[in-house]
Symmetry: C2
């Protein structure tokens, strides 16, 4: 297997409602990433999207985006695992280059959620035979997990607030973030309206539009495209029992743990080498559980990393360094590609005021559904 | 890149309405393929499905099928290009094994179309901004292509009938085929009801339920799993301009031609080496145009291969050897995996009465949407 590097990234500003159509958003993100790599052509475009089938009445998004981007004739496929779809696209682009089947591949994540009511379509990430008929939604499932966590861990109800405060603080230095101009005090987050108890507004990432892309090339050719390539040290996927009820411990994210272990092994690094961790904070409880699954905290103790400010840019384990899903925004199919782009900014010293010092290893994890699927990437300088 | 072989296949009988649920169908196909390979565990499950989001209200099908199959913890992702989705799943499983990231991968195609009205969801393969608002469906687009073809080529209106007659004849020896007990005379096909002129019923593949799977392993380990592995000599994908109107010649399937050329180059074989060709006859006109795109006939002449019976099992270029989409059935997301399974049967001497003599190289091509995406695989002994 030949090593693979990221040689270009592209991000559209996350927006409540983009002025661009779905296909244009995807094509523009691809164009930006390809421009950064200095290429106008790639062999393959892998696309992550979750909701176009419902919100735009559009399937076949990869071919559509490739056509819109003028990439006539190239390979194009959709790759998906609902909310982790963008990470699936990165993984497939990685496999295409690693295998030698492509010399340049672009992974695009795109989602346009402003075209309709997203929640019913998002719930299709859950079990349509059992969970959805019982009234479950992604929000209700996360509310249950948070309630169970607070009860079992004895964490104070407002502990989770610090995940949002950290994310919003970091977003203020990210021009692509949806909430890059907003100040969020602990008080504001703590008293925000209840969405589903115990989830408050600031525990939940917002619905929005966005697209991001990364260009991948063989590591031994990477410097032909950029002076500062970033190596993909590992790419892995793992699944858990599909429904939370079927898991021995609903608070143990087994897919996160498994894909993390696989990735650490592949990258030949360990937890102590990680400079920062881009968690998938669709809900603040997920950041907390991911920190525990990756071993940065003992079970039931992850919240302390937040309340003790250890997750900040200068802390021992910075997370959601450019705002995370909470404050950069969560255009679902695009989100994991934003995560990867942000890790690249950190590892290339381009994270501005949010630069993590001596960033050499970035851990990026994207969650599909109720953590039934988790995709992990480890990037390195 | 390490060479990859198919070491096990599994097919459910295609049915108008399966007694099994979607997840059970997918899991059962995976189990059959894994049983044939003699394994109860794989590293990855790649899933092709087009319509579950609409017909079952279910996304996240790969993780669901992996869970149902008891494959706890493994990698699982959906891969898609609408009607070619199953071929995308095979390709991603191929890349996972070829790259060295997986030692065993199963590609599953699954579709359960009996749970609702499929046509509106199928139309999402087309351009939702331009084609669908103009009343286009996959059927209307193929009717247009057939009309244009008949007009330009001067082929008699009933020429296409012979594609259906050939497919139905072959399906009679395929116990997994939806129409394996049906006799279809040229007269019956010629006088069948008009669906959209000039398309008649027998120009169109039927809606149905099905699931199929293949297990992939590195070629140098393949004989540990089966005495008769089949090599994947090539795997390729190409796209065309998305809308037919944007193509210089709507009757030239550029994505079929490009992915075919790439595949021939990768496999280091040429057209004359091909023992049989599994075309994607969702509509008979597609078989005709694929034969032309692959160079088996000159433009406007592909129909003659059918009327002159050159596409039969004993002909120079046998196609749809186990019944094709027309008569085996077209459970959309599963279809390309059935095509691959059937090619494996041919190449391992297990095609029974439909056995192509001295079958050594099988060409398999799956079409996404209005041929906006085409996936080509070349298999060999």
């Amino acid at each position: 297997m030949r090593p693979v590097s990221i040689v270009g990234i592209g991000q559209l500003p996350v927006a409540s409602a983009s002025a661009l159509s779905l296909r244009r958003m995807g094509a523009e993100a691809a164009r930006l990433a390809m421009a950064e790599a200095g290429v106008d052509r790639v062999d393959a475009l892998m696309c992550g999207n979750m909701l176009a089938s419902e919100l735009q009445g559009q399937k076949h998004v990869a071919a559509l985006v490739a056509d819109e981007a003028g990439l006539r004739g190239i390979e194009a496929l959709e790759v998906g695992a609902v909310t982790a779809s963008g990470a699936g696209a990165v993984r497939m682009a990685y496999l295409a280059v690693a295998s030698g089947q492509a010399d340049l591949a672009v992974a695009v994540g795109v989602e346009r959620m402003s075209d309709g009511v997203a929640m019913p379509a998002i719930s299709k990430a859950l079990d349509a035979e059992i969970e959805v008929p019982n009234g479950a939604t992604m929000i209700s499932r996360n509310a249950e997990l948070m309630a169970l966590y607070l009860e079992r861990s004895g964490a104070p109800a407002h502990a989770m607030v610090w995940f949002a405060v950290n994310a919003h603080k970091n977003a203020r230095n990210n021009p692509y973030a949806l909430f890059h101009k907003m100040r969020v005090s602990p008080q504001r987050a703590r008293t925000s309206r209840v969405i589903q108890s115990p989830l408050r507004l600031y525990d939940c990432a917002p619905i929005c539009d966005g697209a991001a892309a990364v260009v991948l090339a063989p590591t031994d050719q990477a410097r032909a495209y950029t002076e500062i390539p970033v190596r993909i040290l590992a790419s892995s996927v793992a699944t858990d029992r599909f429904r939370i009820e079927d898991r021995e411990d609903p608070l143990k994210l087994e897919a996160a743990q498994l894909s993390g272990l696989k990735a650490f092994r592949q990258a030949n690094v360990n937890r102590g080498d990680v400079s920062f961790f881009e968690t998938h904070d669709a809900f603040s409880i997920m950041s907390c559980l991911q920190l525990e699954a990756a071993g940065f905290a003992l079970p039931g103790q992850g919240w302390r990393l937040a309340t003790e400010r250890k997750i900040g840019i200068r802390g021992p384990i910075p997370i959601t360094t450019m705002g995370g899903l909470k404050a950069r925004g969560h255009p679902i199919g695009a989100t994991p590609v934003y995560q990867i782009c942000e890790a690249v900014l950190q590892l290339t010293g381009r994270a501005g005021k949010n630069q993590v010092r001596n960033a050499t290893v970035g851990l990026v994890q994207s969650i599909g559904g109720a953590a039934s699927t988790v995709v992990t990437h480890i990037l390195g300088t």
